[in-house]
Point group: C2
Chain length 233, copies 2
Amino acid sequence: MMKETRDTEQIHAYLRTFRIDSAIPEDLKPHLSLCRFGQGEFICTQGEPAGVLYILVKGKIKIYTTSAEGKTLILSFKSPVEIIGDIEYVQGGDIINTVEAVTSVDMIGISYRWLRKFANDDPKFLQFLLDIVTRKFLIKSNDLSFNLMYPVEVRLASYLLSVCFDGTDALLQGRLSTSDLKDAANLIGVSYRHLNRVLYQFCAEGLTERTKDGIIVINRDGLTALTSHNIYE
Amino acid sequence: MMKETRDTEQIHAYLRTFRIDSAIPEDLKPHLSLCRFGQGEFICTQGEPAGVLYILVKGKIKIYTTSAEGKTLILSFKSPVEIIGDIEYVQGGDIINTVEAVTSVDMIGISYRWLRKFANDDPKFLQFLLDIVTRKFLIKSNDLSFNLMYPVEVRLASYLLSVCFDGTDALLQGRLSTSDLKDAANLIGVSYRHLNRVLYQFCAEGLTERTKDGIIVINRDGLTALTSHNIYE
DNA sequence: ACACGCCGAGGACAAATGTCCTTCCCAAAT
DNA sequence: ATTTGGGAAGGACATTTGTCCTCGGCGTGT
């Protein structure tokens, strides 16, 4: 179902939009392709061999990991611009996490084969990667500290805020469907049951409100007060 | 109390030992210095401006973060070879975490000033950094999943194992002092009280034993069984 | 309209974890 | 040797979080 094209125009438009034009060596540019994934499709699967570096340029993806026991844990949701497969490219191992398209998604794909040939010694490109990976590290690092240091209440408030005024879903401002909430619970690392309890609290305090099919954030400032300065991502 | 020298012999011996000789551009080599920190000394402090990249070549360090509320969380212990200040170098921000010498410590220090001048466009060096940072990312990523997916019991068992047969402290094989245990609790993100409870369990099951000033790991395989495949770091 | 079935919210209880406090042991000081 | 202080272990209780189950609403098919 994934559709791969070589729409050079489109690809370069994306590169310009996200200002990564200059990070891509000229020799590499002919080998970029544009990949469109449908909603729910898998972009890559944990444990399989890695071979393509993707740049997310449109849509929203979900990244999660599956433990040996089969438990699944959502690690993050990402919007453009984001890189997938960078870690695997550098380390040379199998794919670490599963990535799934939440909406329909456009990605620029670059085969490792061409990367090694045309980009592996290019300082601009390496600096670009380095910037990306250090950013990812910082985000992970914050996540980890945040999870260990703060109670569910704060983490949930923080998460609600992060999706509430995330420009990408302007239509649903502050609105979360039930399935979103389930994902939130998973991301936060707490049972859905307990998330509901905390949500009950939030509603009682007038911070949120329940609707037929989810919740709405009513009092953004109230939630902000809970998280003070610590924001997810 | 930190002592900085230019013992070229020693520095190059270290570089060779850890096979990072080839990652350092020749022009940069004259600007390396050897820094010795005493036990308990701070190598760098969260929030201060960053200026030096350090390579840990001897001794053991502790990395921790302090939250806005003043709570402190141990992120990791590290032995050679490890890089400190890489993220800050790439991102250009202040120091992210506090790093403290657990034992007396030798580090090779390189000023950002010289790095920018002699290494910033060097593919070998950039690849070296990239390798380091992706590794760090993987470790963080595992930590995060591990913490969210497994109960304290498993995390503690895993941690005990990781320090038990970590060659660096061969003399204390499987022996943990009380203060080590406090650190362990902090690292795992659990109260010391609770860690003691779990430890009580372990002792009851014959996995560990209490001594006058700490515990000893008795049954390594038993602990391994608990953690199955998931190992800290 | 009615019956059926699914799914989500919340109740009830159990397990995990945190907080506070008491007790006890050991080491240093007198 | 006695005292004293600090620190560590464990008891008691509170809070958080998980598991399991029930109930009710809503959509679907007839």
